[in-house]
Symmetry: C2
Subunit: 217 residues, 2 copies
DNA sequence: CACTGTAAGCGTACGGTGTAAGCCCTGTCA
DNA sequence: TGACAGGGCTTACACCGTACGCTTACAGTG
């Protein structure tokens, strides 16, 4: 934004920068999905040509990494003062909340790995809590893997989307058309189709926490 | 393969068909990764032009679905006569084995959902075992979600690959360069880097089976 | 004031993608 | 022999990420 003082106000577009680009990419992905995001579309979203983005980011991968980082930064860090079970529970739910709000991170994480700054901060905090709780290094490792898998797994299923209401009716027709070849699937179809992933996730999280606790000592 | 009987053997390429195309796609993805697969490359792999594939498949999506189906068909179905804990354990490990052999299915499943024929057969079998074991429909649903999440989650982490040996050295340098900002990550780095996903998966699977068993009755 | 160096934005172009449309060759059957 | 059908090939289109070079705007000097 530049002003000619005393003259007419020249309304130039606010200058581009990395953060604005990544923010725009995140909201674009939230609206249209990450696989729809292209440099040209992102540019036009910012009122700018595609190639102008390359003045602020090295390439598209840097944008994608930035988007992942953006999401991880939004997960509140667990409080090391609390009981580890509480920390793990609230952090798991918080992470799940972000993965639900930005379903595209899951596939992005799979393609690109997750070793941005924010995700390392997050991971470090959780590992620290587990170690402080008395887990050995091996046990901490097991616990982390398990918690991460559980979280990513549910986020995965939620974002893989075929169980969602959208094409659910079509699927139901398909299933009933397949008749009794899949009786158990058909019987559980209503539950599978309209399930609340949040509470499903919490259910499993409790089992895992209890299981880990039993391994402690 | 056509022969001019009594004359020289005319060595024409064996005719294309859906199965050969999908098989070729699977082996190509095993070698080069699924994101490298393109219609042109797949065609040239089969000694054929890209557009010729469209005489046997509707589009690339049908090939991708076929690849998913191919992998699920390779998972041996659990035996309904066995104890459900044994069935769940062996089936989980068998599924994980396939996901390890074909790491690309995980991201494919996420993009496309998993409701091909083979995956429905597989799912139906597992659901049937859980119901026969005495789980209610809701409990069966919970158990399925949890087992699926655990399996997909580990497969996910395994295929997301950043923890693998390849770029592990670079990552280790990066971590030590980041100094003591992430002490817990650095401390556990060796475990995280060289871990055996198979046994990690089995460890978590046992916790889940025990947790589910406790819910039974 | 002019001159110059720098950075940001733009336009063009290249090689890649999936696939629609049309051509041609060949095998099969009347 | 002639017609037909189907499989493979070629061409073409719209999209992608991005390398390259041009133009404009501005900051710092003399």
């Amino acid at each position: 934004m530049t002003y000619d003082v005393g003259m007419t106000v020249i309304e130039t577009r606010s200058p581009l920068n990395r953060d604005r680009i990544i923010d725009a990419a995140v909201t674009f992905a939230d609206e249209h999905g990450a696989e729809e995001l292209s440099m040209r579309k992102l540019g036009s979203e910012l009122g700018v040509e595609a190639m102008s983005l390359y003045n602020h980011v090295a390439n598209k991968d840097e944008i994608l990494d930035g988007m992942i980082d953006h999401v991880f930064r939004a997960i509140p860090l667990p409080d090391p003062e609390q009981d580890w079970r509480v920390s793990v529970r609230t952090t798991g739910l918080a992470a799940m909340e972000q993965f639900t709000a930005h379903p595209w991170v899951v596939s992005l994480l799979m393609q690109r790995g997750n070793f941005g700054n924010s995700s390392l901060i997050f991971m470090n905090q959780v590992l620290g809590i587990l170690r402080a709780a008395g887990f050995s290094d091996e046990e901490t490792h097991h616990a982390w893997q398990m918690l991460a898998s559980h979280t990513m797994g549910y986020a995965f299923q939620q974002s893989s989307g075929s169980w969602h209401e959208k094409d659910w009716d079509g699927l139901e027709n398909q299933l009933s058309r397949l008749g009794d070849r899949f009786p158990h699937v058909v019987a559980l179809a209503p539950l599978l189709g309209h399930c609340e992933f949040g509470s499903e996730f919490a259910f499993g999280l409790e089992i895992i926490i209890n299981g880990l606790e039993a391994r402690l000592g």
